[in-house]
Amino acid sequence: MWKTVVRRLLILIPQLLFISAAVFFMSQAMPGDALTGVFGEMDVDAQIIEELREEFGLNDPLLQQYGRWVWGIVTEFDFGRTLTQGRRPVTDLIGERMANSVRLAILTLIFQYALAIPLGVIAARRRGTVIDKAIVLYTFAAMAMPTIVLALLMLFTFGFNLSWFPIRGSVDVLLETGSFAYFISRIHHLILPSITAALLGTVFIINILRSEIIDAQNSDYVTTARSKGVPAGRIYSKHILRNSALPIVSMLGFAVAGLFTGSIFIETIFSYPGIGQLFVTSITTRDFPVSNALVLMTAFLIAMGALIGDVLLTVVDPRIRVR
């Protein structure tokens, strides 16, 4: 298996080179460069700007600039500096936002699994009943539901009309950092976006769990357990669920990747300062060092997530061979 992992990691190198080249040259087509916005509305001599351009290497051939960018990333993990937001290093900015996205993603995952596993099991156990039909209907609806529409309606209902939850941001800035109230305020801000994301994210888990359990109900080991007199509840919790959870385990890889990539739609609607919102802001302000770094990072994380998922699957079920 290690051979496979190494090979998959090696394949990742040309893949990332390709993406980095694509985003780099695409962003060169955007108006503005690393010096735009530095002087703001100040009246600076064109001569000085030209000298600075020369100094920063902005007049070098594109290929050379690209090489320097990649080299900086590989050797020093340096993605350059932002064009707006006070020319801070891109990595600082991303790191700051990532903490918010990770919090949101963890709570989303908790809600998602807490909702999906019972629903999947119930649907399978009561197959064909009204409860099962209702759960299946919910998965169909959640599959078709555009994220934007659900998020807006949730925000409108629970944020604006009922005022149960705050309508924007990640924390109440007036509170003292580190205090208990600060912590509670964070959670309070997180609940609505994470429930919205979780409601839509359960579909795949419920569907897989339900069909896996229904398949397992007729398998030999269940018949054996039944004939031994194992109570039905125990059969489900101890025997069936363990086997049926396999495909869900492989999804954990993507879930881990999703922790860091954030959600563009959810974060934008709930004005939640995470990675997704950072991407949208960086694009609208033409801050391409940030957007380039984010695309590259997301692509890398998705690829790693897929790899981790495959490896996890072989760990849980040694019969599966990753090729």
Binding site: Q15, F18, I19, A22, V23, M26, S27, A29, M30, L137, F140, A141, M143, A144, M145, P146, T147, I148, V149, L152, L153, L155, F156, F160, I167, R168, T261, I264, F265, T268, F279, V280, I283, T284, R286, S291, L294, V295, T298, A299, I302, A303, A306
Partner: protein, 312 residues
Amino acid sequence: MDNLDNKVDATAIGDPMDKKMLKAEKRKIAFTTVLWKEIKADKLALVSLILLVGIVLTVFIWSMFLDAAEVTRMNLPMVNRPPSQEHVLGTDDGGRDVLNFMVMGARNSLNIAFFVTIIAASIGVLVGITAGFYGGRVDNVMMRIVDTVSMLPFLMIIILFIVIIPRYGIVHFILLMSLFGWFGISRQVRARALQQGRLDYVSAAKTLGTPNPVIIFREVLPNLVSILSVLMTLNLANNVGLEVGLTFLGFGMPHGTPSLGNLIALARVPVVMEHRWWQWIPASLLVLVIALCINFVGQAVNRAADARQRLV
């Protein structure tokens, strides 16, 4: 094994035209009839279908009577009026009638979703069927490329493209969305084509000397119709949502162009969301109903295409 293969080929050569026509005829009747039965058996799918047809007809016929310039013209004295007798759904931030804007927007959004689905499916079918039919090295190389490309964060890349293209309009938008929407279809089609390519009728056609492209499009493609109709219906629902999402973020249809996304995007301003419900809630609900209906019909199509899941 050799012997068996020869025998199969021999019978297939026997009367290939007749047999093929019979098969095609039978399948054609079967799939549409089964589909109709399946929809009739599922009340939800039936209601969805009727509702969907109703919405589509209303939207397209109504917007034929609307003048695009009239609908999008700003009317500043009439800005942000609540619903009244004259404007049933009120007016938006440019004084435009929300109802008319929504009808025209729904037509545009449906058109976009429809064309994106068709173009993406065509690319997906072309790639998938080629990889699956030829198999071996062709398959390996093509699917490796598909795997690589489909790992890209495509939402981000679409947005990046949209920012770069200097003067983009509906056509650019459709092409961009299609360019990143065919991976799933190509995988499914490839799996089917791989299996079909090993069947007797293909070997028969090959033995007769039929050129491969002809076999692919005349013989194999019709056998993929059922799976394709499933994938395309489900994609259609997603594409409606994607247009709305991208436009909402400000990276979709240009501002002021009638589209459901542009109406919903008004809700980005808290004041609109809280106090001017008539501007964004009707469009949101319309998107919701359209997406749900397409999906419920799609589930019936799915069951019709997969004999194991049929209700009837």
